[in-house]
């Protein structure tokens, strides 16, 4: 029984990671209908930003984490202005290939700048272990889960209460109507990217102490986040979050009880099965984020 709880704990950590990354993807797809294949690289760059702040500059953990979030937010804005602007109105083939190309460029630039050696950023909380009824987990895992919940709650507040957030939701539901009523569509798109990238940066700052950072860390993550977005229903953020946790837990359980070697296939098999059986996603076709 403790065994099962342990696997679930791990699944929740994974799920939080996938959910934070998938949320950004879902936001981008929901608001501007764009598939961003370079999203995992937001996580990777966020990880390096966090590493730089925490290890190289010696900032305290919360500050380094915020710095990573801020840095990625800015990066998201720059990315939107430079790459995305020119592909927003193009076919999705172009969008997919353009963002894939960006992904390749960023990954290899990271190799050139940071080297291939993975960077580790353990924090006091990732080494300190709490024992809850026989199940041992690093405090950092608790932080990850709590922070993820807080972030999602904050996001929900944002899209229901804040003006910009409501504009984002409106745009995801009916873009033309937004333009008609005077919503600054460009600005909302820009903000969406900033927020999505910042989310990835937050995920990196939270999860990197438990794992590590290397140039290629984003590629598998992008794919699993995509799996979550698809399973949750393209563009439906809450669906993506739920699907991400589902995938995280399924992966952990499969790894623990079925086969560790095939665990990565789980996310993709879940995705393929959902695509074949219920292509509109587990929660049905929803309009808007």
């Amino acid at each position: 029984m403790a065994d099962l709880v342990e696997q679930l704990v791990h699944g929740l950590t994974l799920g939080s990671l996938y959910a934070m990354v998938a949320t950004g993807l879902a936001l981008m797809f929901g608001v501007v209908r764009l598939i961003n294949f370079a999203h995992g690289e937001f996580y990777m760059l966020g990880g390096y930003a966090f590493w730089y702040g925490y290890r190289e500059l010696g900032l305290p953990y919360p500050l380094a984490a915020l710095a990573a979030v801020g840095a990625m937010g800015v990066f998201g804005l720059v990315y939107e202005r430079s790459v995305i602007r020119s592909i927003l109105t193009r076919t999705w083939h172009v969008q997919l290939i353009a963002t894939l190309a960006t992904s390749i460029t960023l990954t290899n630039l990271a190799i050139l700048v940071f080297g291939t050696q993975p960077k580790e950023v353990p924090t006091p909380l990732s080494s300190a272990v709490v024992d809850v009824g026989g199940v041992r987990l690093a405090w950092q895992r608790v932080v990850v889960l709590l922070a993820a919940v807080a972030i999602f709650a904050g996001l929900e507040w944002f899209v229901t209460r804040a003006r910009l957030g409501k504009a984002m939701r409106a745009m995801s539901q009916n873009r033309e109507a937004c333009a008609v009523v005077g919503v600054d569509v460009q600005q909302v798109a820009l903000a969406t990217f900033g927020i999505s990238a910042a989310l990835a940066g937050a995920a990196a700052a939270l999860v990197s102490p438990l794992f590590n950072i290397f140039p290629d860390v984003g590629s598998l993550l992008t794919l699993k986040a995509f799996a979550a977005v698809i399973v949750g229903g393209f563009g439906f953020v809450k669906g993506a979050i739920a699907a991400a946790f589902l995938i995280g837990v399924a992966e952990s359980l499969a790894a623990g009880y079925v086969s560790y070697a095939y665990k990565d296939a789980i996310a993709f098999m879940v995705m393929v099965v959902v695509l074949l059986v219920r292509p509109q996603g587990l929660f049905g076709r929803r309009i808007g984020i």
Partner: protein, 323 residues
């Protein structure tokens, strides 16, 4: 075809067939390397053409091509090493295995919308690589399939570089002819109708599913055949060759060269395979440049080099009768 054009084609054919001797004269001491690059170039060109059938002519952005390449490669490699199948049979097995998988997969996949189709094919490609890596008892996993025999057709044995080059040349010519046949006349028009306006096409009683499946299965089967040829040249097959990097390579070749165009795709394949060898740049920088190039091309010049060539041609001959 006019006499001048026919002569042009014949001349090109002679040059291509005579390449081994030309290279030995022009670049003495380096001819083996150049021929090796030529082998890879011809095989990649054929692979890129098979990919372009799906992406360029029916407009389905499939990301599963490395999986078909890999399925064909593994089928041929395992049968040739484990069951001593002769080369022609192993080659056919590679083609058939990939084609059958494409058929089985295509039916459910094509019911999906475009985005989901792309992700579904990607998921399939990833699962294929994971299985190839971990089903060690069957595929050898990371310990690879070794000792794959060189091609032999009866008494004809391909063991030299010129021999492999001619094999590659035959492959790309055969695939090129197939590509031409499929993408012109009525069949080609049907493909393009499905690609450009699916609703209109079905209204005109052109069944999109049927034509997409046709392109997908043929493209997949050809990819499997190229996989079989590839492993007969390299002699060793490891699961790492089925990765995303092959998808990236194919996308660069097709889009850099000119999606939907025979000449364009071949130019793209040559540029992608041969150019880095000529320019000899640091490998990681090469990847950065591919990424940037792909980005710029797809945004600014989506017709790729072929588009540039066409535009150049049209400007030079204002009353153009077509390139």
């Amino acid at each position: 075809m006019t006499g001048v054009r026919a002569a042009g084609w014949a001349g090109a054919a002679v040059l291509l067939v005579a390449l081994p001797w030309l290279v030995a004269v022009a670049l003495p001491g380096q001819e083996r390397y150049v021929l090796h690059v030529a082998v890879f170039t011809t095989l990649y060109a054929a692979l890129a053409l098979s990919y372009d059938l799906v992406v360029g002519h029916v407009g389905s952005l499939s990301l599963a091509h490395p999986a078909f390449f890999g399925i064909g490669a593994y089928a041929a490699a395992l049968l040739a090493t484990g069951a001593a199948w002769p080369f022609p049979a192993a080659l056919l097995a590679g083609v058939a295995a990939a084609g059958v998988v494409a058929l089985v997969l295509g039916v459910p996949l094509f019911r999906l919308t475009e985005h989901s189709f792309a992700m579904g094919t990607l998921g399939f490609a990833l699962v294929t690589q994971i299985v190839a890596t971990n089903w060690v008892d069957f595929t050898g996993g990371p310990l690879c399939v070794t000792g794959i025999p060189k091609p032999a057709l009866g008494a004809l044995r391909i063991t030299t570089l010129p021999g492999f080059y001619w094999m590659g040349l035959v492959a790309v010519v055969a695939v090129g002819l197939l590509y031409q046949r499929l993408t012109t006349f009525r069949l080609g028009r049907a493909f393009h109708a499905v690609r450009d306006n699916e609703t209109l096409a079905s209204a005109a009683s052109i069944d999109p599913l049927r034509y997409r499946m046709l392109a997908f299965v043929i493209g997949g089967a050809v990819a499997g055949g190229i996989g079989a040829l590839y492993v007969s040249y390299v002699g060793v097959l490891c699961p790492g060759e089925l990765g995303v990097s092959l998808t990236v390579a194919l996308l660069v070749m097709v889009f850099l060269g000119g999606v939907g165009s025979l000449r364009g795709v071949i130019v793209g394949a040559v540029a992608f395979t041969a150019l880095p060898e000529v320019l000899r740049m640091a490998p990681t920088w090469r990847m950065v440049i591919y990424g940037l190039l792909l980005l710029v091309i797809v945004v600014r010049a989506p017709e790729g080099i072929e588009g540039l060539l066409r535009r150049g041609g049209a400007r030079r001959r204002p009353a153009s009768t077509g390139a």
